[in-house]
Symmetry: C2
Subunit: 346 residues, 2 copies
C-alpha cells in the first residue's frame, strides 16, 4: 500500500468527475521523432536502418510478446513488443487505492505494448493485403485474450496515425494498453446500454446497426458480418465505426471469420479515407467490454476511427459537447464514392 515513487506513473481520480488521469512523468522523455513528411528519404524507403521496428533491428525491442509468422521469406509478419516509454508501468492484477482526504490514487501499472504491423517501413495499413491486416487484428485478439486474464480493467488496442494524432514513430504500428481501472467513459457506455436493454429487451448496438442499414444514408459498407457506418452523432468529421453483426461484447471473442471481415472492411475504409481526404491524421480505438463483463447481452465491441482534422476549443472542453461541421450523411456519401473508386485512382 505504499504510495507511488516519484517518476513512476500514478493513476489519480478526479474528485469532481471520478474520471481517472495518468500522471506519467517518464512520457516526457520519449523520442519526439515526429512522422517525417512524405517527401523525406525515410518515408520512401522500405527499410530504415535507424528504425527500431525494422527487420534486422529486433534486438532493439527485447521481450517479444507475440510474433505472427510471415507467409513469405520475411522473418515475421507482425510483432508485439513492450513499449519502451509506457504510459503505465509493467504490472498485473488489481490496483489498491490510496485515499487521502478527498483524493484517491492507485499505482499506474498495467501493460503498454507496441504492435509492429508489418516489416515494411514505408507502407500503411491500406497498402497491405487483407491477410496482413487480418494478422494485425489477430495480434490484437491474441494479446487481448492474454491480457484480460491478468488485468482487472480494460484492454484497448488503438492506432495513432500522423503527428496531429500523437504519433512519435513512423514505422506502421499500433498499440495496446491494458489498465487496472475501468474508465468512467466505459461505465457510461455500459450504463446507457444496460438501461436500454432493460427497457427494450434488445441490444442498443444491434438496434442502431439495424436502423443504419434500414435508412442507408450513413452506411459505408456491409459484408453481412461487419457494418461500417458514420455514426448519427459523429463527434468529428468523417468519424467511422465498424461493428460486428450479430453483436459481441469483446473483440477477444471474435471468430476468425468476423476478424477477417473486420480486416477487409478496415483496410477498405482507411483507403477510402485517404482517397477522399488525403493522408490525414486519425486515431482508431477498438473498444470492448471491461474485462470480466464479456458475457453481457447488451454491449458490442466497436472500432471507432476518428480523423483529426478539427481542433476542439473552449466550448467543447468546457461542456464535452462536440462541434462537428460535417454532417455524417455528407461524410458517408463522400466515403462511399471513395470506396467505389479502384485503389490508386485517387
Amino acid at each position: 500500500m505504499k504510495p507511488t515513487a516519484p517518476g513512476e506513473p500514478e493513476l489519480r481520480q478526479d474528485p469532481f468527475t471520478r474520471s481517472w488521469v495518468v500522471i506519467a512523468p517518464e512520457r516526457d522523455r520519449r523520442p519526439q521523432s515526429a512522422a517525417p513528411t512524405a517527401a523525406s528519404a525515410s518515408a520512401r524507403s522500405s527499410r530504415d536502418p535507424g528504425c527500431p521496428f525494422c527487420p534486422g533491428n529486433e534486438e532493439r525491442t527485447p521481450g517479444e510478446l507475440w510474433r505472427t509468422p510471415a507467409p513469405d521469406r520475411a522473418a515475421w509478419a507482425v510483432r508485439v513488443v513492450p513499449n519502451r516509454f509506457p504510459i503505465l508501468a509493467p504490472g498485473d492484477g488489481p490496483a489498491p487505492r490510496h485515499v487521502t482526504g478527498p483524493f484517491v490514487s492507485a499505482a499506474g501499472t498495467g501493460a503498454h505494448e507496441v504492435v509492429i504491423e508489418t516489416p515494411r517501413h514505408d507502407l500503411d495499413l491500406p497498402d497491405l493485403d487483407d491477410t496482413a491486416v487480418a494478422a494485425v487484428l489477430g495480434a490484437y485478439r491474441a494479446r487481448a485474450r492474454a491480457l484480460r486474464r491478468i488485468q482487472p480493467g480494460l484492454v484497448l488496442p488503438f492506432r495513432n496515425h500522423g503527428a496531429a494524432a500523437g504519433t512519435s514513430l513512423m514505422h506502421p504500428h499500433s498499440q495496446i494498453i491494458a489498465a487496472p481501472v475501468v474508465p468512467l467513459r466505459y461505465r457510461h457506455l455500459f450504463d446507457t446500454a444496460r438501461a436500454y436493454y432493460d427497457d427494450r429487451g434488445t441490444c442498443l448496438y444491434s438496434d442502431v446497426a439495424d436502423a443504419e442499414l434500414a435508412s442507408g444514408e450513413r452506411v459505408l459498407a456491409d459484408d453481412g458480418r461487419v457494418l461500417a457506418f458514420a455514426p448519427y452523432a459523429s463527434s468529428v468529421p468523417f468519424e467511422t465505426w465498424l461493428v460486428p453483426r450479430p453483436h459481441q461484447a469483446s473483440f477477444a471473442d471474435a471468430s476468425d471469420e468476423t476478424l477477417a471481415g473486420t480486416a477487409r472492411l478496415l483496410r477498405r475504409v482507411l483507403g477510402a479515407l485517404r482517397g477522399a481526404l488525403g493522408d490525414v491524421a486519425y486515431n482508431y480505438v477498438l473498444v470492448s467490454a471491461p474485462n470480466g463483463e464479456e458475457g453481457t447481452a447488451y454491449f458490442s465491441w466497436h472500432l471507432r476511427i476518428l480523423p483529426r482534422i478539427t481542433t476542439a476549443a473552449g466550448f467543447e472542453l468546457g461542456t464535452g459537447i462536440a462541434v462537428n461541421p460535417v454532417p455524417p450523411e455528407q461524410a458517408a456519401a463522400r466515403l462511399r464514392t471513395s470506396l467505389a473508386e479502384p485503389p490508386g485512382s485517387g
Copy 2:
C-alpha cells in the same frame, strides 16, 4: 416540431453515451485568419484597420449586446456582440426533441456571443490592468444573468488563446455560449457533487479547496476570496483552477468583490503561465451550475485554464483517461516561481 433545415445547426444525442453533439455546417465557412505570429505587423499595432473588433469598425459587428464604458477617452472598454458564425443559431427557450428510432435530435439554437475584451488590438489579458480584466468578467456576469433567464441549459463563458486552442481571430476576445441542453459532463459534475454532499454534508469544491490550502503543494495563490491551484488530477500540464471561497454555484451571482478578486488572480495566473512557458495556447472555461440550479448547496463555479501543449492520442480518446506528463505539484511550483517574479522580467 419540424426537423432542422439543411445547413442549420442541429443538436444530436449520441445514443451510446447520451452526450450531445452539435452538427454545425455553417462553421466551416468562418474566416480562418489564424492568429498571426508575434513578428507580424498586425501583432505589433495597437489598432488594425482590417480588424472587425477594433475601434472605428463597430458597424461591422452589429447588434451590440453589452458595452462597458471606458474609464479614459476611449469609446468603450468591453463590447459584447453576436458571433457572426455561431455554433448555435439564435433562439430562446426549450428545445423540443425529435425521436426517430434510437436517434434523438433538437434544433441547434441558443446564443453565441463574442466578448471584445479591450479596444487594444495588440494586448493580451495579462497586459491589461486589474480594472480592465474585471470589466471583462463583469461582461460575462451581465450576459450570464440575462441569458440564464431565457436559455434552459447552460451559459458558458470561455476563451481560446492561440491557434492550437482554436482561435480564428487575433484581437483579444472571449466568447459566451448559452445552450438549450444540459451536457452529460455537467450532469456528472452534479451527480458526483450531490452524492458527496449527501454522504458528507459538505460541498466537495469547498472541501477540495480546504485540502489544497492545508497541503499547499498545489496552491498558486490565495487572496481569501478566490483560490488558484493546480488540481490534484490535472488532465493537462499546467492546468489551473480558480474557485471562489466560500463556494457559490453560479458565477452570475458573484459579488463585485469576488469578481474583482477573480480578475486580479486570473490576470496574475495568465501572466505567470506566459512567464513560465512563453505565449502558449490555452483555453479557459468558466463553469457554473446549469440554469435553474444555481441554488444548490453542493456545487461551485470554477474557472479552468487548460494549456494546449500536449496532444491527446488513441488511449485518451478511447478511454477518456487523460495522460499528463507533468505532475501538478511540479507545475504549481514552477507557476509559483513565475508569479513571484515582477511582470516583464521573463
